[in-house]
């Protein structure tokens, strides 16, 4: 057996919260990274996976993080934890380098990408001037940037998200590191781009013979590229082993839950199993209960959108203006108690459709017939009574709740605005009922949003919408920011509410598997146009358009690559 390149032994990290309390982020984890191997560190938020990578790089915040004395992080046989700051700096970027989740915020916006790559080369390789520039162009060519000789002089904002991530990768491999740490490198990207970046990392790994430590929350993503998988939860390692084994025969309940709670394209259980179900052994029978989807012509139509267009006009120069067609001629029917899924990559106009129907944007053209009236032609005042009947749940549960309101105020606010309930007490009583309905404890009423996790916040947002008893609920990427297990819980909740109240959903997401799970009908959008529209089962099993096929092919299969 070869000696590992990186060996983490019994790593314990504590964070001091205040004078008395501390929080143990890592409770003694051990794993090895062999040379020329890709190891995936998988876990949900709070599992300690990012803390591990920061510890390896020596980037933990000094003021409140303490690494246990008995911990060892061995890199090429030397303990990194005993390195001086200068030694650590010399190591970072040259032998170990890192790529981050957000390429836009990791690149400095005021320098050209060429300058930033050359800086790395100057720092660690002593290259300067023409030699550095040539090497930078070679690197950009290697990571697949088109026209690298021209692109080298562009600024980060002139590139797309995928290209920015490629530049980050170029910087990371500039000094031919032995170990590349990739912290959620594809989470912020669209599925098609995600696939390209994953392929690129796998290709570079083989070509340069480096090791990759791949950190992600999404087990399915690593199936294609990892040799070895480490599953973490709450600062502990639940399971580790060869990727093939972990995927084919997970030993730990938690790993099984992670694999199962993510909706898949070819199965639609009535409820998604969540981690609790696995821990208590209920999961297997749940999977058998299938739900049928699809619409019949006899289902009543609640909302009919005809020829919806939305242009954004931006001023350019002194007199000129540029028109951007965000949505071009979109028409659809939404049926009562059914879900219409809206999929597309970022910039496809799917969110704009949702916001325009709610009149949060003014439509440029088109009609939306609801309850026998064209709501798009209404004035703000006329629309007010209809406003409560069409509601929206936003993507980011951290931003959509007013941080200065208690949960009670947040839930009561719509009732105050629409005059629902006669007194504060009555409203509070209704709020308590709704909290129970979305599965939150009564105590939540008095708390502030920041005291809740992402999934709980999304429940609060759902409860807020339910106060108005809407007919239509627009879910704009409502589960995209959540961990897979929490996502399953929220999807189950949405499903229950639809069954109970007969709500109609417009479910907007870039995640094709989630849309497939939730939707009766699906509409695929690209560049503001509807590419394909139809019954969800039919569309997924036999996509008619090449774009739809391309999207479906990009879904990470997890097990796919391994069997």
């Amino acid at each position: 057996m070869t000696t590992p390149l990186l060996s983490v032994k019994n790593l314990r990290v504590k964070f001091r919260l205040d004078k008395k309390n501390s929080f143990e982020a890592l409770k003694g984890i051990s794993f090895d990274v062999m040379p020329n191997q890709t190891v995936a560190l998988v876990g949900e938020s709070g599992s300690g996976k990012s803390v591990s990578s920061l510890a390896i790089l020596g980037l933990l915040p000094k003021e409140n993080a303490t690494v246990d004395r008995a911990s060892v992080i061995e890199f090429e046989g030397r303990n990194l934890l005993t390195f001086s700051n200068a030694e650590k700096r010399a190591l970072r970027g040259s032998k170990i380098s890192m790529i981050f989740q957000e390429p836009m915020s990791s690149l400095n916006p005021v320098f050209t990408v060429g300058y930033q790559i050359e800086e790395v080369l100057k720092e660690h390789k002593g290259l300067a001037g023409k030699a550095a520039r040539e090497r930078a162009i070679a690197l950009l060519t290697e990571v697949g940037i088109p026209e690298p000789a021209i692109k080298i002089d562009s600024f980060p904002h002139q590139m797309s998200g995928g290209q920015q991530q490629r530049v980050m990768i170029a910087m990371a491999i500039a000094c031919e590191p032995k170990l590349l740490i990739a912290d959620e490198p594809t989470t912020a990207l669209d599925v098609t781009i995600q696939k390209q970046i994953l392929d690129l990392i796998a290709e570079l790994q083989k070509k340069h013979g480096m090791s990759v430590l791949f950190i992600t929350h999404d087990l399915a993503v690593v199936g294609d590229i990892a040799d070895h998988v480490v599953v973490m939860r709450h600062g502990e390692i639940r399971e580790q082993g060869a990727a093939r084994e972990v995927f084919a025969a997970p030993k730990d309940d938690y790993t099984r839950a992670l694999l199962a709670c993510r909706p898949v394209v070819d199965s639609r259980p009535k409820r998604l199993p969540v981690i609790d179900d696995f821990m208590s052994g209920r999961a297997d029978q749940m999977r058998l209960d299938q739900r049928t989807r699809g619409v019949k012509d006899s289902d009543p139509v609640v909302l009919e959108v005809k020829g919806l267009c939305k242009d954004f006009v931006s001023r350019e120069g002194f007199f000129g203006k540029r028109v951007f067609h965000a949505v071009k001629d979109v028409s659809f029917k939404l049926r009562k108690g059914k879900t219409l899924g809206l999929v597309g990559e970022s910039g496809s106009g799917k969110t704009t459709v949702g916001l325009t129907i709610m009149k949060l944007h003014d439509a440029t053209k088109g009609e939306a017939w609801f309850d026998g009236k064209n709501i798009l032609a209404m004035s703000e005042k006329e629309f007010l009574p209809y406003k409560k009947r069409i509601q929206i749940i936003f993507q980011n549960p951290y931003a959509s709740l007013n941080p200065r309101f208690t949960v009670g105020q947040i839930i009561c606010e719509p009732m105050v605005v629409h005059g629902i309930g006669s007194s504060a007490d009555e409203r509070a009583k209704m709020a308590f009922e709704l909290l129970a309905k979305v599965g939150l404890p009564e105590m939540s009423f008095y708390k502030y949003p920041h005291e809740f996790s992402g999934g709980q916040r999304q429940r609060i947002a759902i409860a807020r919408c339910l106060t108005m008893k809407p007919d239509i609920l627009i879910c704009d990427e409502s589960v995209s920011a959540l961990d897979v297990s929490v996502q399953a819980q929220v999807l189950n909740l949405l499903q229950d509410l639809q069954d109970e109240f007969g709500l109609s959903y417009i479910f907007i997401s870039h995640d094709l598997a989630v849309v497939k799970y939730m939707s009766d009908e699906v509409m695929v959008m690209n560049n503001g146009e509807v590419v394909e529209q139809g019954d969800s089962d039919a569309l997924y099993s036999a996509p008619q358009q090449p774009y739809t096929r391309k999207l479906l092919d990009s879904i990470p299969k997890g097990l796919g690559a391994h069997g």
Partner: protein, 391 residues
């Protein structure tokens, strides 16, 4: 844990979570400098409140000591005062006894206002008079005549006052023998009142205009920004003079209006930027989605999220306006002569300084420096407490 134990734990836990303000208050109390500066500021506030309701320094206008009586600590090192004392005892310059009469009968004297005004015109010239040169007050006879007609003889009162006059006071005395300590306390009341009132006016104006400009954007924003730009392009002193000329009368309200109307611009800019930032946030869009009106979104939803910025600005502007009031009063655009403020004290001290009577200057400066420093430190601590990420 059993269910019972869990219930007990839940019951013992505080039912309500601490909000922004209680957390900020907690952080503020953990800051030593904040506590010291807060205590100093509160002492000043209590002092001016006490003076406002008349508990202390009510009789600041009374002439309780000899002219330019030195502070107790320096009574030996100041001979000029002794000379004046002699002058005052043997009748002194006519103007002094005349003024003394006026002050002793103070509230009952129907001529008080006339005298004070006359004194205001003459004070400059006569105040510096050395005891060697006798200046005859051209009005002395007229006044004596007037008093006789009114059936009052001031002579007895004058004698009485002369007997009682102290030779030195803790903080010294001014030109007319008024207690500098009482004057400076009275001055704090004026300055703090002006500072707070003007800061509130400016903050209200700046916040409301800023909220409208930032929230509505477009033409409203253009118009308000245009107004703001014009306003801030006029030199400050010129603007003050213009507003003073329009308002035409001197008084505390005038000063408050001058400062409030000129000082809202920086708050406007900040609040506008905050509203621009917040109106695009998801929680405001969510408020729109549930049907909250514009006003409700602006002031019920967004305002609590920026209120800490406004509070810090308010605090900053109190300091700024206390200083501005001093400058205005010093230049003579501030409070009227029958009101004392730190600025008018400094103005008087200008002429006294050349004669070596420094105590009025020191008293006013020291009080102002302590308050302004304490308030500035408090503002810093407040900002840190409200925005812990800033540290």
């Amino acid at each position: 844990m059993t269910t019972a134990a869990m219930n007990a734990a839940a019951a013992s836990a505080p039912a309500r979570s601490p909000g922004l303000w209680s957390l900020a208050w907690k952080r503020l109390l953990g800051d030593r400098i904040a506590i010291v500066s807060m205590v100093v500021v509160i002492l000043f506030l209590l002092l001016s409140l006490a003076s406002f309701v008349g508990l202390v320094a009510k009789d600041w206008n009374r002439e309780v000591a000899i002219n330019y009586a030195p502070p107790t600590l320096f009574k030996d090192s100041h001979k000029p005062a002794a000379d004046l004392k002699a002058g005052a005892k043997d009748g002194g310059p006519a103007v002094d006894s005349g003024a003394a009469k006026a002050e002793v009968v103070n509230d009952r004297d129907p001529l008080r206002d006339v005298i004070i005004e006359l004194k205001g015109q003459l004070g400059q010239a006569t105040g510096e008079v050395d005891s060697g040169i006798k200046v005859v007050d051209p009005l002395a006879d007229v006044m004596a005549e007037l008093r006789k007609q009114l059936g009052r003889t001031g002579d007895g009162a004058v004698a009485q006052a002369d007997e009682k006059r102290a030779e030195h006071l803790p903080f010294g005395a001014d030109k007319w023998g008024r207690d500098v300590l009482k004057k400076v306390i009275q001055g704090s009341e004026t300055s703090i009142l002006v500072g707070f009132a003007a800061a509130i006016v400016a903050t209200l104006l700046g916040t409301v205009l800023g909220a409208f400009a930032g929230y509505f954007g477009g033409k409203t924003d253009d118009a308000l920004n245009w107004f703001y730009s014009i306003f801030s392009s006029i030199p400050y002193i010129l603007l003050v003079l213009a507003i003073a000329a329009v308002l035409k009368q001197k008084g505390i309200v005038t000063v408050v209006l001058i400062l409030g109307l000129t000082g809202w611009t920086s708050i406007f800019r900040l609040v506008r930027a905050e509203y621009l930032k917040h109106k695009a946030r998801d929680y405001v869009r969510a408020a729109n989605a549930i049907g909250a009106s514009n006003m409700r979104r602006m002031f019920v939803h967004i305002f609590p999220n920026i209120s800490h910025v406004v509070l810090v600005q308010l605090s900053l502007h109190v300091v700024l306006f206390i200083k501005s009031e001093v400058i205005l009063s010093f230049l003579g655009f501030g409070v009227p002569v029958d009101t004392v403020s730190w600025g008018s004290m400094l103005n008087e001290a200008q002429n006294e300084l050349i004669l070596g009577y420094w105590w009025q200057l020191v008293a006013a400066t020291a009080f102002m420096a302590v308050l302004v420093t304490a308030f500035s430190l408090f503002t810093d601590a407040l900002r840190d407490a409200l925005d812990p990420k800033l540290k």
